[in-house]
Amino acid sequence: MRDRLLLSMWMVAVVAITFIHDPLWLAVLLIVVLVLAGSDRLAILKGALIAIALVNVAVSAGYAISAGVSGEPWLDFVVRLNLRVLLLTVLTLWLSRHLDLVKAVDFSPSLKFVIVLTIGQIKTMQRLLIDYRQAFASRSPARPSLRDRMASSGRQTLALLDKAEHQATELNQGMRSRGFFDDRAQ
């Protein structure tokens, strides 16, 4: 119940924030969220700044330069955009640290199973990809050519497709043998 409430409140907050345009209010809300984040606040703030840096710097600098050249005001826009994006990202990172997504979606057994299985499968496939990359790096004493890099990425993609096919069959058989579909049919 707690996680479902947390998820709902976060969704409402995210939508509400996009209706706020006053930089002062956005700054106040950002401070409140950071205060409420407790001891995680610095890690969350750092993560958020890294996540938004590329897009925000490009958009802010681009707008500031183009508006500055034509003699138009730009500061309010830059402050508002950066505060809003930072606030939304901080809020989302905070949620990702505190939300148990599986509990939040336990109103739907099917969705819950999809999420549990997906998270497990992501980890398995990421490990496979890391193995392939490390193997390719260890077998490439010199800088690999574009053709070799393309072939390596192609093999990684194929390995992932193979893994997906086998895992889907295996999971289906595992769930069937444990009576998952019989329980659902009743």
Partner: protein, 213 residues
């Protein structure tokens, strides 16, 4: 390519959710019908695959690289609706589990890349299937990536029209289509080519080994 939170006006993203909601409902129905009791494991694995595919590097000339979008590959291997549903779940999970990407822009990203990008790939592939298979795959995946980039550029490009403050400064993304279209479409024309080649390499290897997809 996908749009983060905070750049899009509510009138745009709420409208996108209104369009995406029936598409999601339809895709769940289609996937449930096509996969029956295999739906849950198949959808979970496809979602994980879609997630991890976005971390596969596309090598580009000059030692640089981009990231695979993966939607074209998913669409050609598994069909439109599984690709759309899996890609939408990836966007939601990225935001909720890893705090990455945007939740307000989820519907826009899912529609532009997961639905329309996949539909363009499949439609063009069907049209030019009689061509050499490698050309058909590369061209159709390239077109899907470029059309997705064009749509994202257009959505971003209309944001200056969505509101300005008293001093005339934009409330959301500030650049119009004259800026967003070349900035997004030109690099994705190159990335799309890499993605097309990579998709063809993977699918042709699958065909040769006759692993059912």
């Amino acid at each position: 390519m996908h749009i983060p939170d905070g750049l899009i006006a509510p009138q745009t993203y709420l409208a996108a959710f209104a369009v995406a909601a029936p598409a999601w409902a339809w895709s769940v129905r289609r996937v449930a019908r096509d996969f029956d009791d295999r739906m849950i494991p198949r959808l979970a694995v496809l979602t994980a695959l879609a997630f991890v595919l976005t971390t596969v590097m596309i090598p580009l000339p000059g030692g640089t690289s981009g990231h695979l979008v993966g939607v074209g590959l998913l669409a050609l291997a598994f069909g439109l609706w599984p690709a759309f549903l899996a890609y939408s779940l990836v966007l939601a999970l990225s935001a909720l589990l890893f705090g990455a990407g945007g939740i307000t822009s989820l519907a826009i990203n899912a529609l532009c890349m997961g639905l329309i990008g996949a539909a363009v790939t499949l439609g063009i592939h069907r049209l030019i299937q009689p061509w050499k298979s490698s050309v058909a795959v590369v061209v159709s995946v390239w077109a899907g990536v470029v059309v997705s980039a064009l749509l994202v550029a257009l959505v971003l490009g209309v944001q200056p029209l969505m509101g300005r403050d008293d001093s005339g400064q934009p409330l959301f993304f500030p650049f119009g289509p004259a800026v967003t279209i070349p900035v997004l479409v030109i690099p994705h024309a190159l990335i799309g080519l890499g993605e097309g080649l990579l998709t063809w390499l993977a699918l042709s290897a699958l065909d040769r080994r006759k692993v059912p997809a």
